[in-house]
Amino acid sequence: MLEARGLKKSFGKIVAVDGVSLRAGAAETIGLLGPNGAGKTTTISMIVGLIRPDAGEILIDGRPLRGDTDPVKRKIGLVPQDMALFDELSALANLQFFGALYNMSGAVLTRAIDDALNLVGLADRAKDRVKGFSGGMKRRLNLAAALLHDPQILLLDEPTVGVDPQSRNAIFENLETLKKRGKTLIYTTHYMEEAERLCDRIIIIDHGKVIADDTLHGLHKLLPVTNVLAIELDSPDGFDPNWLKALPEVESVELRDRLLRVGVHDLSSGAPAILCWLSEKGQPYQHVASERPDLETVFLTLTGRSLRDAR
């Protein structure tokens, strides 16, 4: 089990992490969610021993990391945000090197490399130089390199940055397989849908502080609305969305371009009331859809800013 307590880290006058605590049990997938610069990577770096925290402690299976060569490090696998591969070497040579860093050799290393390459679907490209790989293939190999020593805890720092949807899907499938194998995954991202799909628990970080730590269901409970009605207006000229707030069913309202998004607690009563009100006011619309609020909305609710604006 991994436990971080009250981690703090500053770089000069910049406070990167300010009292972050988290726990991750076996087979649990934790999402660290936040905009760029929120402190996710610094937190990961402290957990893995790359950066010494100014305050706080990190326990792995109940004991702290002692020095660079502590064998406890073998329980951790890191997938860095930047591609951590040697482009000039083959995939096989890369994995041989990274395996050897964990004192692996011979048949044990060969088997570990085969397993890792099979998992990420690159067994047939083992002897090819990495510089000929696509971005998605590199990301998958980047993941494979962290799995060779069979770590119990896998720290993934935005492992899908810059990859195409197909490769992203492949990486997700790999991670779901690892999750089924009982691995603990700590996954940083600023993509809501990734966290929603993969994580058992989500920790939202902003400005170096944890602002929420709960399951997806628990986070939804924090929201003032449980559903959003999205209505595409014909012509929003002269329409003031605040007029809708007069309706008792309406909790929030937002108009962007022609898209009117209205938050309601009860969709079954709220939707007819809103549509009826629009008809009465002579405001034609083209398309109506209902949405469950996503993590973007959660972030917006908790911080007053959208994730995209915060980046």
Partner: protein, 434 residues
């Protein structure tokens, strides 16, 4: 041990994976060393043709003496004597086409003859020279002195012009009222004897000249012996230039290692390396060893080429040569690590460290031997590690020194290795801002 060896193996694989860079890293020093070696005397061949200095002699006197001086200069094996007008000669010197123009003025013969036995005014020979060849001026002046002494004395002891001038000198002595009588008599006797000798030589002009009638010459000859590693073994300029270029390009390789380490620290690879259970000593030590191995490889290729093509042999202790190369390789690796430790940005570090490397190469004697430096600068170079590398390589190649000569350069190079290593370890920033 497995991680340590894997780190070294990885560095070597990466180095050799860029075959074009490896080839260029070997070809460029070979080409430069071959060229410089040829300029610095090659492998003991005769350089007479190459080293003949082009000069112009302008004879404005056209006397027997001036013609004799011009003939002496033309006969000298170190000079390529041409003729030209004064304006042409000046222009040729200015353009660097000739090293110097020697102007023998009108009445030179007569004035030089008088000044030979009496205290009469000495005539002046003007020499126009190219200031970029100042070192060669000394040699030209020496050759000119010899030629003038021989030309003037020959004429004075056996020529018609000499006899006339002796008659004039005797008349001057006789009419000189200030000269003491005893001096007058002694000098008159001397000149009268020379006059008689000259007249006899004039009558027997067809016979082989003897005694002073040959003219005064330098009363000795020099025989030279280049002291190298053994009898019959000639100095090989390629030994120095291949050592020099090897030192220079290996230092650049060390610099490249430092820059690469700086870049590595900014990449995900560094995070992955640091996340593994590897000590800092293994991370830096493996890089030191791999850099030393690459350095050894470069030196091996360079000196193998020099041996096969230019007959550069390790005339001294082979063990001493290997020890110097190994110590220099370690020093280079430590230098690279120090660059990585002290550097902040790649761009800033590259500019500064290239300058530092070039200064080290220059002061170490890798371009030109340190003996041409001023004395004070030669003393200063003891604090430059490349100087010890060059001393060691020269010592065990063409100087043929034994193993006892290895301790000082090897010791100094290891001292620099330790110094650079300590700075690197103390200053290395292991944490990276994320």
């Amino acid at each position: 041990m497995i991680p340590f060896l894997a780190l070294i193996r990885k560095d070597l694989l990466l180095f050799f994976s860029d075959r074009r860079a490896v080839m260029m890293g070997l070809i460029i020093p070979i080409v430069l060393a071959s060229f410089l070696g040829y300029l610095f005397g090659g492998s003991g061949r005769s350089n007479t043709e190459i080293s003949k200095m082009p000069v112009v002699v302008i004879d404005q006197d056209e006397s027997a003496i001036s013609r004799a001086v011009a003939a002496q200069l033309t006969a000298d094996t170190h000079l390529d004597v041409k003729t030209a007008t004064l304006d042409q000669a000046r222009e040729q010197v200015r353009k660097g086409e000739i090293r110097a123009a020697i102007i023998v003025p009108k009445d030179f013969g007569a004035e030089a003859g008088h000044a030979f036995f009496t205290s009469a005014q000495k005539p002046a020979i003007k020499v126009l020279y190219d200031p970029s060849h100042g070192m060669e001026m000394g040699m030209i002046q020496g050759t000119l002195t010899g030629a003038v002494m021989q030309g003037v004395s020959k004429e004075m002891f056996s020529g018609e012009m000499g006899r006339t001038q002796i008659k004039e000198s005797l008349a001057q002595i006789k009419s000189d009222k200030n000269m003491p009588a005893a001096d007058k008599k002694t000098l008159s006797d001397l000149l009268s004897s020379v006059q008689k000798w000259s007249e006899r030589q004039g009558q027997a002009s067809s016979a082989e000249p003897a005694g002073p009638s040959r003219g005064l010459t330098i009363p000795f000859e020099t025989t030279t012996e280049a002291v190298t590693s053994g009898e019959g073994i000639q100095y090989n300029g390629y030994a120095h230039t291949f050592g020099g270029m090897g030192v220079q390009f290996i230092l650049f390789m060390g610099l490249d290692i430092g820059i690469r380490l700086l870049l590595l620290r900014q990449s995900g690879l560094w995070q992955r390396l640091r996340a593994a259970p590897i000590s800092r000593a293994a991370l830096l030590g493996s890089r030191t060893v791999s850099a030393a191995l690459i350095s050894g490889f470069i030196l091996t290729v360079l000196f193998t080429f020099a041996r096969l093509v230019f007959k550069v042999h390790i005339q001294g202790s082979f063990v001493g040569f290997v020890a110097v190369c190994a110590a220099f390789s370690l020093m280079t690796a430590a230098f690279g690590l120090m660059v990585a430790a002290l550097g902040k940005t790649v761009e800033g570090t590259r500019g500064f460290s290239i300058m530092a490397t070039l200064i080290m190469v220059m002061l170490g004697g890798a371009w030109a031997p340190t003996f041409i430096f001023p004395q004070w600068l030669q003393k200063v170079t003891v604090v430059v590690p490349t100087r010890w590398a060059m001393d060691g390589i020269d010592g065990f190649t063409w100087r043929g020194l034994d193993i006892s000569a290895a301790w000082l350069p090897v010791g100094m190079l290891l001292l620099f290795t330790l110094l650079f290593g300590i700075v690197a370890v103390m200053q290395f920033r292991w944490e990276t801002e994320s």
